[in-house]
C-alpha cells in the first residue's frame, strides 16, 4: 500500500485508539477464513481480507459472488464461520455495541414507507448517540423534502436523499453501502457519491461500497477488492492497480511478440487492432508494442471474472 500516506494515518490511529481494544491491529475490518454455506451454495469460501481506516473500498464481484453475504457478516446480520473483527469487535456477539460506530445503507428501498421525514429524524436523533441533527437539517435544506412528507409519497431519488442525510449526520467510523444507488437516475447517482465524498468522508472514516456500476465509483475509490465465488481474488489500492496492470493497443503485426508476454486478456477491435491486458509486465517492455494506458476497473473486472458464469 502507499506507505507515505499510511504512516501519517497510523500515528493518528495509535493516538486515537490508545484505550480502545482495536489498537492491537489498526484494521477496521479484519477477516480470516470466513465461511458461509447456504442450503446449496457456498457464499463465502475461506474469505480473508483486511480493511484499513481512512479508505474508500470497492467490493466488486459478479452476481452471487458473496458480496452481500460478506457485508452481512460484517454487519452481524447473519451467522457464519471464521474469525471476523470489526472495530475490534465480533459482530456475532457484540452487534449492539458495534452499531454505535457502524452504519449502513442496504438498499434504496428500506426506509419504512409509513414514516414521515420529521419522525425519521426524531427517531434516529433519539436513538443514535452520534447523530448530529443540525448536520442532517443542513443536508436536507437544499432538497424538496418537507418534514410532513411520508416516505411512500417520495420518489426513489428523494428517499435516497433522506436516507443519505440521516446516515451522513451520523459520525460513524465505518459506513457500509450495498448497491446504494440501484435504480436511481444518473443525476441522483452522481449527487450521491459527490455528497459522500465532499461532506462526509475524512481520514477517520472508512467506507465500504459494493456496486455493479463500477465506472461511476472508480474515481472515488482508494482501494478495490474483487470477489469471485466466495474468495477475494484481488485486493489492492488503486495506485497499485495502476502500476500493476497495463492495457496495450497492439498492432496486428506484433500480436505474436505481445502474446509472449502472457496477456491476461485480449480482445479484438475493428481495423486489426487488439487490446491486451498485462499483469505485472514493466511499462518499458510494453511501450514498443503499441499505445499503453491504465485499464479501467470495468475492463479489469471483466478480464478477472472471465468464465464465472460458464
Amino acid at each position: 500500500m502507499n506507505a507515505m500516506q499510511h504512516d501519517g494515518l497510523r500515528q493518528d490511529e495509535l493516538q486515537r485508539d490508545a484505550d480502545s481494544p482495536r489498537s492491537v491491529s489498526g484494521a477496521v475490518v479484519s477477516a480470516r477464513g470466513l465461511r458461509k454455506v447456504y442450503k446449496n451454495k457456498v457464499a463465502l469460501d475461506g474469505t480473508s481480507f483486511e480493511i484499513e481506516p481512512g479508505k474508500i473500498i470497492g467490493l466488486i464481484g459478479p452476481n452471487g459472488a458473496g458480496k452481500t453475504t460478506a457485508l452481512k457478516a460484517i454487519l452481524g446480520l447473519i451467522p457464519f464461520e471464521g474469525d471476523l473483527r470489526v472495530l475490534g469487535m465480533d459482530p456475532r456477539t457484540q452487534r449492539d455495541e458495534l452499531m454505535r460506530d457502524v452504519c449502513f445503507i442496504a438498499d434504496v428501498a428500506v426506509l419504512p414507507r409509513w414514516i414521515r421525514v420529521r419522525e425519521a429524524i426524531e427517531f434516529v436523533a433519539g436513538v443514535h448517540p452520534r447523530f448530529d441533527r443540525a448536520r442532517c437539517d443542513r443536508f436536507l435544506a437544499n432538497t424538496q423534502l418537507k418534514p410532513d412528507m411520508r416516505v411512500r409519497e417520495l420518489s426513489k431519488g428523494m428517499i435516497v436523499q433522506l436516507h443519505l442525510a440521516l446516515v451522513m449526520a451520523i459520525d460513524a467510523k465505518l459506513l457500509v453501502l450495498d448497491e446504494p444507488t440501484l435504480g436511481l437516475d444518473i443525476l441522483y447517482r452522481k449527487q450521491f457519491y459527490q455528497r459522500l465524498l465532499e461532506d462526509y468522508f475524512d481520514e477517520q472514516k472508512t467506507i465500504l461500497i459494493t456496486t455493479h456500476q463500477v465506472e461511476e465509483i472508480e474515481h472515488i475509490l482508494t482501494d478495490v477488492m474483487f470477489i469471485r465465488q466466495g474468495k477475494i481474488v484481488l485486493d489492492a489500492s488503486m495506485d497499485e492497480v495502476g502500476e500493476r496492470y497495463a492495457e496495450v493497443m497492439v498492432d496486428g503485426g506484433q500480436l505474436e511478440s505481445a502474446r509472449v508476454l502472457k496477456p491476461v486478456d485480449e480482445r479484438a477491435l475493428p481495423f486489426g487492432k487488439t487490446v491486451m491486458l498485462f499483469d505485472g509486465v514493466p511499462q518499458a517492455q510494453l511501450q514498443s508494442l503499441g499505445e499503453v494506458r491504465t485499464p479501467g476497473l470495468a475492463d479489469l473486472f471483466v478480464a478477472t471474472m472471465k468464465g464465472t458464469y460458464a
Partner: protein, 345 residues
C-alpha cells in the same frame, strides 16, 4: 475535508429508557390508526347507534302516546313523564334500575374493546413480518437498537399501550353514553341525578375498566407471544401459520384422543392450549377462570358481581394465568432470538 487532528469525543449512549420510549413512540406512529382512532371511532359509532335507537323509540312513544295507548302502572300519561316514574319505583325496582344502568354502560363500552382485540391480534401478526417483507428491518438494524428492546417494545405496545388507549376510549364512550341518557332524562322532565347518576355507578364501572389493564396484559401474553413468534418466523402468510398450527394440533389431539394419556378430556386441550394461543387478546376472555362469590345470576343486579374487581383479580391467583404468561414470555424470548438471526434475502 477535516483535519487529521480532529478527534472523536466519546459520546454517551442515550439512556435505555429514553430509547425504549422512542421505540414505543415509533410503534404508535406506525399504528396510530389501530391503537388510537379505531377504538375511539368504534365507541363513537356505538354512541351514534344508541342515539338513533333512542330517537326511534321517542318517535314510537310519541305516536303511541298520541293515540292514547301508553299506560304505565295504570296511569295514562301524555308523553313519558320520567319524574313521575321515579316516584313510583320501590327499592327493589331501584336496584334493578341500577343494575340495568350499569349493564348498559358496560355494553356501550364494549365496542372499543372488541375492536382492541382485533387490532392487537393483527398488530402482533404483522409486527415482525411486515418489516421483513418491505425490508425496512434493514433500516432498523442499521441503528444501535438491540433486538431485545425492539421486540419488547412491540410486546409492550400490544399488551399495555393499545389496551390502555382502548380502555380510555371505552371510558370516554361510557361518559358519552351517560351524557346522552342525561339529556334524554332531562327532556322528559326527569331528574338525572335521581334516575341515573345516583342508582347507577358509572365511576366504579369506569375504574373497574381501567383496573382490568394488568389482568389483560398478563392474560393476553400467550396469544401475543405466539403471534409475535409466528410473525418473526413465517416466510410468508403468517396468519395461516398462526391459525393452522394450533387448530391442526387441536384436531390431531381430538382425532386420536391423545389427552386420555393425561387423564384429561379433549376439550381441555382446546380450552387451555388452542384458545389461549389464539383468543386471549379478547378482553374478558378470562371470566372462565375467575372466581365468583355467589352464582346468583338472576336479574341485572347480578351483573355487578360479574364485573366486580374481586372476581377479576381472582384471575391473578390462577395457574392458568401464570402458566400462560410464562409460556408467552418464553415465546417472546424465542422471538428475540429469531429476529436476531433470521436472514432476509
Amino acid at each position: 475535508m477535516n483535519a487529521v487532528v480532529e478527534t472523536r469525543s466519546p459520546v454517551a449512549a442515550p439512556h435505555a429508557t429514553a430509547t425504549f420510549k422512542l421505540l414505543l413512540k415509533r410503534e404508535f406512529w406506525e399504528h396510530k390508526g389501530g391503537f388510537f382512532w379505531a377504538p375511539l371511532v368504534a365507541g363513537a359509532i356505538g354512541l351514534l347507534m344508541t342515539i338513533m335507537a333512542i330517537a326511534v323509540g321517542e318517535v314510537a312513544m310519541r305516536r303511541a302516546a298520541r293515540s292514547g295507548e301508553l299506560h304505565i302502572e295504570g296511569v295514562q300519561v301524555n308523553g313519558l313523564d320520567l319524574g313521575m316514574l321515579t316516584q313510583k319505583l320501590g327499592p327493589e325496582e331501584m336496584r334493578h334500575l341500577a343494575g340495568g344502568i350499569d349493564l348498559s354502560l358496560f355494553l356501550s363500552a364494549s365496542w372499543p374493546l372488541i375492536v382492541l382485540a382485533f387490532v392487537v391480534f393483527f398488530y402482533c401478526l404483522g409486527a415482525l413480518y411486515d418489516e421483513r417483507k418491505d425490508r425496512s428491518v434493514l433500516f432498523w438494524k442499521s441503528l444501535p437498537l438491540s433486538d431485545r428492546d425492539t421486540v419488547l417494545s412491540k410486546a409492550a405496545s400490544a399488551l399495555l399501550v393499545a389496551p390502555a388507549l382502548a380502555l380510555l376510549a371505552a371510558v370516554a364512550t361510557m361518559l358519552g353514553f351517560m351524557l346522552v341518557l342525561t339529556v334524554v332524562v332531562l327532556l322528559h322532565g326527569g331528574n338525572p341525578v335521581q334516575l341515573l347518576w345516583g342508582p347507577g355507578s358509572p365511576l366504579s364501572v369506569m375504574s373497574q375498566f381501567l383496573a382490568a389493564l394488568p389482568v389483560y396484559a398478563l392474560w393476553a401474553l400467550p396469544t401475543v407471544g405466539w403471534l409475535l413468534l409466528v410473525s418473526a418466523w413465517a416466510r410468508s402468510k403468517p396468519i395461516l401459520w398462526a391459525l393452522m398450527i394450533p387448530l391442526f394440533a387441536g384436531l390431531f389431539v381430538s382425532w386420536f384422543d391423545l389427552m386420555q394419556v393425561f387423564n384429561l378430556e379433549t376439550t381441555w386441550f382446546w380450552k387451555n392450549i388452542v384458545a389461549r394461543l389464539l383468543t386471549s387478546v379478547f378482553p374478558g376472555s378470562w371470566v372462565d377462570v375467575a372466581q365468583f362469590e355467589h352464582i346468583d345470576v338472576e336479574g341485572p343486579a347480578a351483573f355487578r358481581n360479574l364485573i366486580s374487581l374481586k372476581a377479576m383479580y381472582s384471575t391473578l391467583l390462577t395457574p392458568q394465568l401464570w402458566i400462560g404468561a410464562a409460556v408467552g414470555a418464553a415465546m417472546i424470548f424465542g422471538t428475540i432470538r429469531l429476529r436476531r438471526w433470521r436472514d432476509e434475502g
